[in-house]
Amino acid sequence: MTNSWTDIKNTDLVLIMGGNAAEAHPCGFKGIIEARNTRGAKLIVVDPRFTRSASVADYYAPIRQGTDIAFLLGVIKYCIENDKVQWEYTKNYTNASFIVGEGFTYSDGLFSGYDEAKRDYDRKGWSYEVGEDGFAKVDPTLQHPRCVWNLLKEHVKQYTPELVERICGTPKDKFLHVAKAISETSAVDKAMTSMYALGWTQHSKGSQNIRCMAILQLILGNMGLRGGGMNALRGHSNIQGLTDLGLMSNLIPGYLTLPVEADVDFATYMGKRAFKPQRPGQVSYWQNYGKFFVSFLKSMYGTAATKENNFAYDYLPKMDVGSYDVLRAFEMMHQGKMNGYICQGFNPLMSFPNKDKVRAALGKLKFLVVMDPLKTETARFWEDHGEYNPNNPVDVKTAVFELPTTTFAEDEGSLTNSSRWLQWHWAGATPPGEAKTDTWIMAQLHLRLKALYAKEGGAFPDAITNLHWPYKNAADPQPAEIAKEINGYVLEDVENPTEPGKKLLEKGKQVAGFGVLRDDGTTACGCWIYSGCYNEAGNNMARRDNKDPDNTGAYLTWAFSWPANRRILYNRASADLTGKPWDPKRKIIEWNGEKWSGYDVPDIAPTAKPDTIMPYIMTEEGVGRLWVRGLMKDGPFPVHYEPFESPVVNVIAPKIQGNPAARVFKGDMANFGTAKDYPYAAVTYRLTEHFHYWSKHVSVNAMLQPEFFVEISEALAKEKKIEAGSWVRVWSMRGSVKAKAVVTKRIKPMQCDGKTVHIVGIPIHWGFMGAAKKGHGANTLTPFVGDANIETPEYKAFLVNIEPTTPPAVA
């Protein structure tokens, strides 16, 4: 979230599209009700299903899954044509005026530079035209034909309400109602918040779904404001934290990236990460990359990281492919290219697409380690559970270890929620049986590996043996110790250049924040964006002072919010070029002539002049990007592509069905079904009674939603002679499941391009372990393809068929 859960109450319009907050985040939904009661805010829900969110919405519009981009580009077109643009904001705070280099083209759903064989773009042609001053050329008048604004206008031109209706199945009048409501928030005193989640990410063009809304929010001037923003509702309690801390194949904590093979040495690596400003005087904060990177290496390798060895740069693995994400991992496993796998509190057998492939892949491992507080399906993938998990243990040669871990109740530490709040919690219970904390287990694995290498030597032991290990009890590192490591600390005294003799930094002290990190090895910091969470002031994550002056929803003294305890990102953009808030009633920070101050920590240098230094300090441009150059694999602007499995042909580019830049593995392309055999558009989703595959282990939740079911419209039920509460078989190209049928008015067939599209809703949550009735996993059906940019599997749009059937053999 750019804003926070406690900021939602400040909005005038909530657009829930690509999510279902009432269902998946009930307690976060509170803010919406409050905004409605206190400021008369409206709630609009756009979703293929009439969800729990829709049940309390002011307006609901149906949309066919996987067509959000068409809808949103249509809204952008509506705003531009009806002059519903926050002009001052758009002109000054976005790259609307930037001039794109010649040679860029777009036609039939493809941008210039596409290589069909590689399913990839050469993105060079998407950069700005650079002037002799070395900066990007701009045309503040927005007249230049190749300025981003005109390219955007041109790009969205074709997305008329009629086309939107053809593609999305959203009736024109409903679309226009929504478009109008959204466009009204271009007024300086109105803000819209976009609350989205996996309904946007789990598509082969997920990133572009979100980009599209970001573009809209920028031209409406809703970014950085109270009650505005792009609010990604993260799924899990600490998935934000795990991502912040770089627990991904190609990441380093704080969104730094691992070197690739081309980064042959430290210099090359840093050279590619200069992030020079593209406009005069702009901040381009990533220029400090080196400070964060070196401080990270120091916290990893301590004294072993020296200037001489480039701070142990070579200790880091270098990537040969873009990412070793889960889909690639299971593809490799399936090809027998992997021997070991460790699952920490994760249930891939139920979570990843194409369950049969996942099961087969796990069976090709030498060893599988599962750390979990619950008896997961994954740990039992080798067991035979009849229809739910057919297997013959004798044939499965994988050694499986199940290690009992603690739950939240028995563990201490911090979790980062969607608001980017790092909240500390304390253990209140004794772990059951022999359960241990994950920290202890990971430490033990490392220590034992280290001992083996110390004893026997082996392949490149250095990085293991030299791993910095500053813990009082080496065998059992404590949360507070690690938190201090993450925050960062000073390794050497640093003199203050302005006042000689005075120390800028004092050895052994915690750093106050990332502002003081250095690239000379005098500071260490595990994760720069978390710096400040545990400094000399103490454990700021444990703060529990809930005062909130003037009820802005900032709560600056509650826990710690990254970065720098800032509650609303880009909050500088809430003020105009004179530093005055666009809307005085919505003030967050303000320029008083010398400096910025207000309710929140300014997202800009306190003394940065409002008329010269632009708000988006993380970009080289200093402004928000309507247009992206190389950063998006699949285009500088979003384009509507159909899901890889779609009931209709792509109206705007019949030759291109799925995202042309999305990675598809060989075997999987053949595993896509067609509308001929699989006529119905399926979507998977969560129910409020359950959380993924854990809560089925909880007797109460198992009772509240006891059994696997699918939801279909009354029309489809009639057509297929399916009774409510009876058994149905649903099958896709990947597999087949049996479920109870819930026949509902909340799902209705849609008319798309003259074709009736029936939707089959498939909740996740059931498996063959736990207190609930045994059930098939929705992932038995889902396709094995991910988003072009970050490989999120396409769970929200695929094809199935359905028929009445008999109860499962094993009940």
Binding site: H25, I239, K318, A329, V400, H425, A463
Partner: protein, 199 residues
Amino acid sequence: MNVEVSRRHFIKLTGAGVAVTAVGAFGFADAEQALAQSIRPFKLAKLTETRNTCPYCSVGCGVIMYSQGDIKTGEKAEIKHIEGDPDHPTNKGTLCPKGAALLDFVRSETRTLHPLVREPGTNAWTQLTWDQALDRIARLMKDDRDANFIAKNKDGVTVNRWISTGMLAASATTNETAFMTYKAVRSAGMVVFDNQARV
């Protein structure tokens, strides 16, 4: 505008001796004696409180755990009840149907209790000690790493990469666990490494 006695006040109430004022607050003014006999005794009295965060979704609701025994003093502690933290800015004491049932997650019948191993080709779990389990896993990891570690690529560039063993990090472990995991995984050169962000 729920009537909610602030948590601190509430704690006073649950302390020794039911505060008549509070009882009065809801019309039981003259009833203590009768209540003592007819109404179920307040089950949270005399339990230890611990602040925690709901482990499910990303709202990060504050919860208060009520336990028999206090682990901070080294006692054996067992959770008896879990409820929303009224002081929390986001959930203000409320919880969803999952959070409200956290107690039964903690005491779920299908919790793992002991290190177990399932040997290749067998159809059963066998229990082992932590030392046995961890030593075996470490050995398996090292053997695989030594066999498949890629120190340099074909161009002779140092890549120090290990891709034949992978790790899936969790989604509900603490940031501290996450960083510890990161250190252990990356120091081994592991790159087949991901988390649950996408699902």
